[in-house]
């Protein structure tokens, strides 16, 4: 049963995980993007649609990423160049993504695609317990697992990462070095949108092979919450996402055990868990917030 829950955690949590890694980049630079949900939806539809047209899920996924990026471009423009409130803009992007994908996605609802299938890695997937949990997933999931250490390295061990973090913490430093912090933030938001789009594409092209209106169902919002929970660290964000996935899987497993718990109560669990996790982490994290972000979250930006 534990193995099932853990496998389910990775299967269900991957799309959220990829999106939260992207949002991590954006928030490190000081911009919070609640429109991640919209980016994920556009990525899911874009990825699905292009896979239908080209028959190639890799191209489709790339297209999904680009769709997510384009949506986040609107967010970046409104927030960085027009000075709009970050949270309100993000929400608007969310509605916009929902409306646009519902509209343009109508023709794709019953289409079939050649999507990504789970690819068991030879030998490794035969290891008892771990093999099934880690080594029997689709290619995008494998890539996402690699994404985490890569991102950690970039953020904490390269100059690029320093620039990124400076944009969120001490933009004066960037000015002094002749780098425009606004540009850095733009790129960070776009990178976030790209990854959110990939996360959405993973959901449609790899996991479900379907497109249905509003199929992201709140994962984008959870991704944003998870980044805060994770204190803006890639590894913790990954764990948080898998926790969310585990809650979703747990809910299903519990139902099958025949325990007398109302399904509605179980549906709530992932969201309540996210809230509780946020609360627990909040105590310790005050000093770790990128300063620019702190202003946004406290409401003075």
């Amino acid at each position: 049963m534990i193995a099932d829950i853990l496998t389910g955690a990775i299967r269900s949590g991957t799309s959220v995980m990829i999106a939260s890694q992207g949002e991590l980049i954006s928030e490190r630079a000081g911009v919070i993007n609640l429109g991640t949900e919209g980016s994920m939806l556009c990525g899911a539809l874009g990825g699905f649609a292009v896979t239908v047209w080209t028959g190639n899920p890799w191209i489709g996924t790339l297209a999904g990423g680009i769709c997510g990026l384009l949506i986040s471009l609107i967010h970046a423009f409104l927030v960085l160049s027009c000075g709009a409130n970050q949270l309100a803009t993000g929400l608007t992007i969310m509605f916009f993504g929902m409306g646009v994908t519902a509209f343009f996605g109508k023709n794709f609802v019953s289409q079939q695609i050649v999507g990504f299938n789970p690819v068991p890695i030879p030998y490794l997937s035969d290891i008892p317990f771990i093999g099934k949990i880690l080594f029997n997933h689709d290619p995008l999931t494998y890539l996402s697992l690699l994404l985490v250490p890569v991102l950690w390295y970039v953020i904490f061990r390269t100059r690029l990462g320093v620039i990124l973090r400076a944009a969120g913490e001490r933009e004066e430093v960037l000015f002094a070095s002749g780098i425009n912090p606004k540009l850095v933030r733009y790129l960070a938001v776009l990178a976030g949108g790209f990854l959110a789009g990939i996360g959405g594409a993973q959901l449609s092209v790899a996991y479900t092979h379907s497109w249905v209106e509003n199929m992201v169902a709140g994962r984008g919002v959870v991704a944003v919450a998870l980044v805060i929970f994770a204190s803006w660290k890639p590894l913790k964000a990954m764990i948080g996402a898998y926790l969310f996935g585990a809650a979703q899987a747990l809910q299903l497993t519990v139902q099958q055990q025949g325990l007398a718990i109302s399904p509605y109560f179980l549906f709530m669990v992932p969201y309540v868990l996210t809230l509780v996790a946020l609360l627990i982490v909040e105590r310790r994290k005050q000093s770790q917030t990128p300063e620019a972000l702190g202003k946004v979250l406290a409401g003075s930006s």
Binding site: L78, N85, F95, F103, I228, M268, Y271, L279
Partner: protein, 350 residues
């Protein structure tokens, strides 16, 4: 001051004031133009559509009533977003607060109030709805004040939880014994339904909404409390330095907002639906937020923007029946309106 200087000074401020108003109007009109262009690609004549929207709304009493019906919850959930916004908070939990308000209102109506006369039953139901919404917003408030969690994120997450809570109750304790086990509540008593105007479906809820909007406006602009709230919203540092009890203010503002959204929930049940379903008030919270933004969080202007949103909402179905375009295309229009408003924010001096 010399006369010449006074005249120049007045002229300048007159222009500046007009400029702001013009930009705000442009921000509302531009998206309709953009959407109109979008429609032409789908062979829908936008002028015809917009005109039919106006016709439906003002052409007969029924149409007008329908628009007001739609606008009513928007006004209330809009207030639920606008009031905290004046204090510097972004409350997007109108959705969940409405649902829990509807839940409380239905609970009271079904279990305690079915034999009461209207004059007692309806106000109690109203209070119950307000309490429900307040409780739900209270969660957001506590998490913000004690837990330091950002209210936007918590209120959105709680929206999802609220829907499941309502679902839990309509499948269980609130399930109608006479509806063959389908998950909705029993119908509330006739005496508890809000009075309606003949020849329409319009109920007096919209008057309640307008009255509340006026009250909120009055408090915000004419009382000392309102002044303090606005100071907190525009300059938190100054508020702190002036010794305001920030946390207490945040808390009560959110409670009030929740109560307003909860009243919207009660009105939804007592005015239109007559019973509680799991899907009560879907999207009303978000649309109210949109209305508040369109009105720059001003309670009186909120009534106008809610009315406009009501018109668009009603038109959505007409659009679909007319042209086969899905009613979700109207969401695109609404989002466009928001984009323009957000984009013009810096240009407008409040």
């Amino acid at each position: 001051m010399s006369i010449a200087a006074t005249i120049t000074k007045d002229n300048k401020s007159f222009l500046a004031r007009n400029q702001s108003w013009m930009i705000q109007s442009a921000a509302i009109i531009a998206p309709f133009i953009v959407f109109g262009i979008f429609l032409t690609f789908y062979e829908v004549n936008p002028i015809e559509l917009y005109w039919s929207m106006v016709q439906t709304t003002f052409g007969n009493l029924y149409g007008f009533g329908e628009v007001l019906l739609k606008a009513t919850p928007f006004i209330l959930t809009g207030l639920a977003a606008a009031l905290p916004a004046k204090a510097g908070l972004v409350n997007v939990g109108g959705e969940g607060q409405l649902a829990i308000g509807a839940l409380f209102a239905t609970w009271f109506a079904v279990f305690y109030l079915d034999t009461m006369p209207a004059m007692i039953g309806i106000p109690i139901m109203l209070l119950a709805g307000a309490c429900g919404g307040a409780v739900w917003a209270g969660l957001v408030a506590v998490l913000k004040v004690k837990g330091k969690l950002n209210e936007t994120i918590t209120s959105v997450l709680l929206n999802y939880v609220a829907v499941f809570i309502v679902g839990f109750f309509v499948h269980g304790m609130l399930k109608d014994p006479n509806s063959f086990n389908w998950p909705f509540s029993p119908e509330i008593a006739n005496t508890l339904r809000l009075p309606i105007i003949n020849n329409t479906r319009l109920h007096v809820g919209f008057m309640i909404a307008i009255v509340l909007a006026i009250i909120v406006w009055f408090v915000l602009s004419k009382t000392r409390l309102g002044f303090k709230i606005r100071v907190l919203g525009s300059n938190r540092l100054a508020a702190e330095r002036a010794g305001f009890q920030i946390n207490k203010m945040y808390f009560w503002v959110l409670i009030a907002a929740g109560a307003l959204a909860g009243i919207a929930g009660m009105i939804e049940i007592a005015g239109i639906e007559g019973r509680l379903r799991a899907s009560v008030g879907t999207n009303f919270g978000y649309l109210g937020f949109l209305a508040a933004m369109m009105a720059w969080n001003h309670p009186l202007r909120l009534m106008a923007s809610a009315f406009l949103l009501g018109m668009i909402s009603v038109a959505g179905n007409k659009l679909e029946i007319f042209s086969g375009l899905p009613s979700s295309s109207v969401n695109i229009l609404m989002a466009l309106v928001l984009f323009f408003i957000l984009g013009s924010g810096k240009l407008v001096k409040k």
